[in-house]
Subunit: 214 residues, 2 copies
Amino acid sequence: MKYNIIIVDDHKMFLDGLLSILSNEIDYNILLTAKNGEQIIKYLDINKEEKVDLIITDISMPEMDGITLNTLVKEHNRNIKTLVVSMHSDPDRIDTLIENNVDGYVPKNAEKQELLKAIKSILKGEKYFSKEIKDIYLENKLSNKRKEEIKLTKREIDVITLIALEHTTQEIADKLFLSKHTVESYRKNLMTKLNVRNIAGLTKYALKMNYIEH
Amino acid sequence: MKYNIIIVDDHKMFLDGLLSILSNEIDYNILLTAKNGEQIIKYLDINKEEKVDLIITDISMPEMDGITLNTLVKEHNRNIKTLVVSMHSDPDRIDTLIENNVDGYVPKNAEKQELLKAIKSILKGEKYFSKEIKDIYLENKLSNKRKEEIKLTKREIDVITLIALEHTTQEIADKLFLSKHTVESYRKNLMTKLNVRNIAGLTKYALKMNYIEH
DNA sequence: TATGAACTCCCTGTTTTCAGGGATGTATTT
DNA sequence: AAATACATCCCTGAAAACAGGGAGTTCATA
């Protein structure tokens, strides 16, 4: 019995690459490829009876990213394994994924052999994380003994995003249908929370967090 | 006689993918793969007599990026073609590449077929740019009719840097031993020159130009 | 049911930024 | 000799941001 695998990546060329790597492996049957998580969720929804063993996914994709996809899959289909293959190694994302029970994480600059090893381990029921990823995860956990309790609320993120996009308080208020006082409160809270002095600091944070494009 | 191709990409998995796509094409011989431009330049330097027809390269790589690589190759080996395959579609980079006579540009989310088409065209001596890339290039050219003559003076850079570091006008004046009026003039000129509305815009520019750390 | 978190709105007063001018001196280049 | 680029400084008035308060609502959860 072959293992059924789904691959999700918005870079078709990479997808093709993965496909040709995996198609040399007789144990693996590529059920489906897609360029975002939404398509997968729909597919799983419709084909409930189909056996899916593994979903290999990128993180940054349009419509639905790999993190959301992983969360949804793990919530509803506990028997489907997930392997993230990503270019970025952002501590927070790694953290979120691990907390959401992802089965593996391999950076895109890994060797083909490592990818195959990861897939094999995961299909056996083990977890597989590249050394690089484990290091980042641990380093993050150790250095951030509860320091990183900076969590912005949805509304705060709305506001800081618009600030970084060069909008004034009044404009933001209009856009979000809020009083300008409210927006001012958010700005103030943001500055306190993030320990910055002014809009320059807020803008840098928004960029760092990828709230706006670089 | 086969075409000799070199592939440069720091994402090994992507590299493997490209390799397996191209290895199905009997006309192509993959001479070498590398994960940054430096390795290629060294290789070309040592193997001057070797026929190299095409270099396929990513843009963002450690050590030496694809833009520098293209420039160097075009300066020294006019007969080597270059094809950029990149995830990003930044107008400025596209512009620089085209000015430096790159032979093609295909985004990483292109179909395998398009990549092969691009390679074939380029080897025939034509240029190949994906529609997406052409659009970005044109859009940029049309909107930026000579706009890109933005050159900041030393003093302007001093000021914008300190602004992005969250200093007020008065603080900057003190630091640079200037009157606060002077600093205000600089800030104003900066905003006009860079076509931004406020400190958020200035900060983003300073980050983009690497005046301050990311 | 009480607590807390998130969201919303308001006030006062000060400081800074923004928008729009203008001006002088010193180089360098044409 | 004139034009240009750069650096420096000044002014006014309006708009926005900053600082430091308070306070009501809803909603989930302990």
